[in-house]
């Protein structure tokens, strides 16, 4: 969709599925820019901030959260039918993220929390999946939580058009430019070796290894990363375990394994 030739501002809805709401919150956390951003769009529905009802017609659907119920499957299909553009924001929507850690043995896990029968209010539970496994997604804003300025940037691309390419390389390159040294030199596990770049390596810059919230990079060489870990005194099995944090249901993890 391109709104460049249209006079009316793009009509936007923001919808939350299974998530912590942190990515929607991140959008409100750009206080100084919030009205500038909202001034460019016709925000039709944002349940977090307004009691206005969901409209029938809109141009852009922003979806946060993983798909974890049959009801959510219907919701995203409806959104896809009505919206010209779909933006998935945050790890939950993009890779099914942390909720997907519960995907293996999902029914047994639900039973361990709720007993034999989950409350009616839970809806029809299904194993957590990314939005893109149900509908076509036009744009992704990665990480957990999103960097709100990445969201603004993506929205600009949707509204104004742009051929800016999404990075596919691994985080290591970005991290090296921060000149903070490498965790593997300190026998410490870090997922920057195989995680998609784009965040500027914020966590390693603050002394915390990468947990892989941007998801696996298409350029990742997991076998080689295991070898690096082993050489650096880190058990490769720990690398595999840590990769589950954000990639449990990513089919490319299996193919790269």
């Amino acid at each position: 969709m391109s709104a460049t030739n249209e006079k009316a501002p793009a009509r936007v809805v923001v919808v939350g599925l299974a998530s912590c709401f942190g990515c929607q919150l991140q959008i409100t956390n750009i206080e100084r820019h919030l009205l500038d951003v909202l001034g460019q769009v016709d925000l039709r529905y944002w349940q977090l901030t307004s009691s206005d009802p969901m409209p029938e017609e809109f141009d852009v659907a922003v979806i946060e959260g993983a798909v974890t119920t049959e009801e959510a499957v219907r919701t995203v299909r409806e959104l896809r039918e009505r919206a010209g553009t779909v933006i998935a924001i945050g790890a939950c929507a993009v890779t099914a993220g942390i909720p997907a850690m519960a995907a293996p043995g999902f029914a047994e896990r639900a039973a361990s929390v709720y007993g034999d029968e989950a409350p009616e209010a839970c809806g029809s539970l299904r194993p957590p999946a990314p939005v893109s496994s149900v509908i076509a997604v036009d744009h992704e804003v990665r990480c957990c939580p999103i960097d709100p300025l990445d969201f603004v940037d993506t929205l600009q691309r949707v509204l104004r058009g742009s051929n800016k390419a999404v990075p596919t390389s691994t985080l290591c390159g970005e991290c090296k430019r921060n000149e903070r040294g490498c965790f593997y030199g300190r026998e410490t596990l870090c997922l920057g070796l195989v995680t998609r770049a784009g965040c500027g390596a914020r966590c390693p810059d603050l002394g915390r290894p990468c947990n892989g919230c941007a998801g696996l990079s298409p350029d990742a060489n997991v076998a080689s990363a295991r070898a690096v870990a082993a050489r650096s005194g880190v058990d490769p099995a720990r690398l595999d375990k840590a990769l589950e944090l954000f990639n449990t249901v990513d089919p490319s993890l299996a193919s790269k394994g």
């Binding site: 709401f21 942190g22 990515c23 209010a121 957590p128 966590c203 603050l206 002394g207």
Partner: protein, 430 residues
């Protein structure tokens, strides 16, 4: 026979997904239910078998708004299980992190979620034109909470730097002083916020339930005491006994478990209002004066006054944060460094307890000898509050029906009550 059914699907301007069902027949409130329909993510099962270090990182994702609280609570649970003691400096930084989430949460709740109800709007945005000074300062206060969380935790949502035993990064003395000055600069507005919410008219109801808050002698604790108090029944318990004192029970209409005190069978409220009732005398002087001026003194049993209690806490938190930041800027302000302390991994079990912005938060963790999680239990403030909220909704509806108020008026007041509880439904289901 006159039957009125009020259904509010997907209540707006709260955190998460919830519905209200109210049926009134011939002036009698027959049904009064809060349905929590937030998707279940099964965090307690998710962390079993994971390395213990991952748990705060994973549990943070229970809720974006309360992420700092979940992280600090889990760190306390891990440290209780492994027998780790942190330095005073680390404890002070954790307090700052929790207070940052208080500022962020209370400012968002009061101005973005709650105030539009009282100012006749459906969202906060019309306020930008109508009262730009209020709008700008409200957002500036919320931004200051984010700035504090970002300064201490590395990010406003899902902190990065807080780990078992300490912090991976710290600010410079100049940065602490600058933060303290910003806290001071916002204090007058926080006092005005107390006056603003004092000016909003609310129905006079009194909750029949109890109130639960963290307590410590002579202080207003948020993350460094193990003692919880049922304020009205008047007894204390150690957080390690939380499951023995609080019963969680399932109801089909809610994906969250509900809760009641085992000793009394009473539902209860845990929130800013419970804290103010429990520790009023230990509020900062400025906060106590503001509260007294607004008529907020213990015992205050009107749940609508939770808004006012949050505004009073804004004043209190700004004063406390300014003091903490100035002390952190001094070379010998706090004993020890915030660098993570060394510890041995061993099998153990512990309960972490903090006051999250919305109330008492408990995490229990059992860790095996290899450092993997054997069992986890999470009790969030909102899960504890839902039963009391339903009871208060019934009280309110009965009162309004008795006064012959219109369906639209009842609907709005019930929504206002739900928002006054500041529910966090993502947390409640987790």
């Amino acid at each position: 026979m006159a039957v009125t059914a009020i259904s509010i699907d997907h209540i707006a301007r709260i955190e998460g997904h919830g519905n209200v069902r109210l049926v009134i027949e011939d002036g009698q409130v027959l049904t009064c239910q809060m349905e929590v329909v937030e998707p279940a993510r099964l965090f307690e099962s998710m962390v079993v078998g994971r390395p213990f270090e991952e748990v705060p990182y994973v549990a943070s994702r229970i809720c974006g708004i309360c992420s700092s609280s979940h992280v600090v609570t889990d760190l306390r649970a891990i440290e209780a299980a492994l027998g780790v003691s942190v330095t005073d400096r680390t404890a002070a930084l954790r307090e700052l992190l929790v207070y940052g989430s208080f500022l962020q949460n209370h400012a968002t709740h009061l101005f973005v979620f709650s105030a539009p109800d009282f100012l006749g709007h459906r969202s906060v945005f019309p306020l930008a034109d109508e009262n730009p000074a209020l709008f700008d300062r409200a957002l500036a206060l919320k931004a200051l909470g984010n700035e504090l969380c970002t300064a201490v935790g590395g990010r406003s949502v899902h902190p990065i730097t807080a780990v078992t035993g300490g912090f991976t990064h710290e600010l410079t003395a100049a940065e602490y002083r600058s933060l303290a000055d910003k806290m001071d600069a916002m204090a007058d507005f926080a006092v005005e916020a107390v006056d603003l919410f004092d000016g909003f008219e609310v129905p006079a109801i009194e909750t029949a339930g109890d109130m639960l808050a963290m307590v410590a002698p002579g202080r207003y604790p948020v993350c460094d005491s193990d003692t919880a108090r049922f304020v009205r029944a008047g007894y204390d318990f150690d957080c390690s006994q939380v499951e023995a004192e609080v019963e969680e029970y399932p109801v089909g209409r809610s994906a969250a478990f509900l809760a009641r005190a085992r000793r009394t069978g009473s539902p209860y409220l845990t929130a800013a209002l419970a804290r103010v009732n429990a520790s009023w005398g230990a509020l900062s002087q400025r906060a106590r004066y503001a509260a007294a001026k607004a008529g907020l003194r213990p015992p205050e049993l009107n749940p609508f006054m939770n808004n006012l209690a949050q505004a009073v806490e804004l004043v209190d938190v700004l004063d406390r944060c300014a003091g903490l930041c100035r002390r952190l800027a001094e070379p010998d302000g706090f004993e020890g460094s915030s660098e993570p302390v060394a510890f041995e991994v061993r099998a153990g079990e512990g309960v972490g307890f903090t006051e999250a912005p919305r109330g008492a938060l408990f995490h229990r963790l059992a860790i095996d000898a290899d450092g993997r999680v054997a069992r986890a239990n999470i009790l969030t403030p909102t899960a504890q509050n839902v039963a009391n909220l339903e009871a208060d909704m019934r009280l309110l509806a009965e009162k309004l029906v008795g006064e012959g108020r219109s369906e639209a008026a009842i609907r709005l007041e019930v929504e206002k009550l739900v928002r006054a509880y500041d529910p966090c439904l993502s947390c409640s289901v987790h």
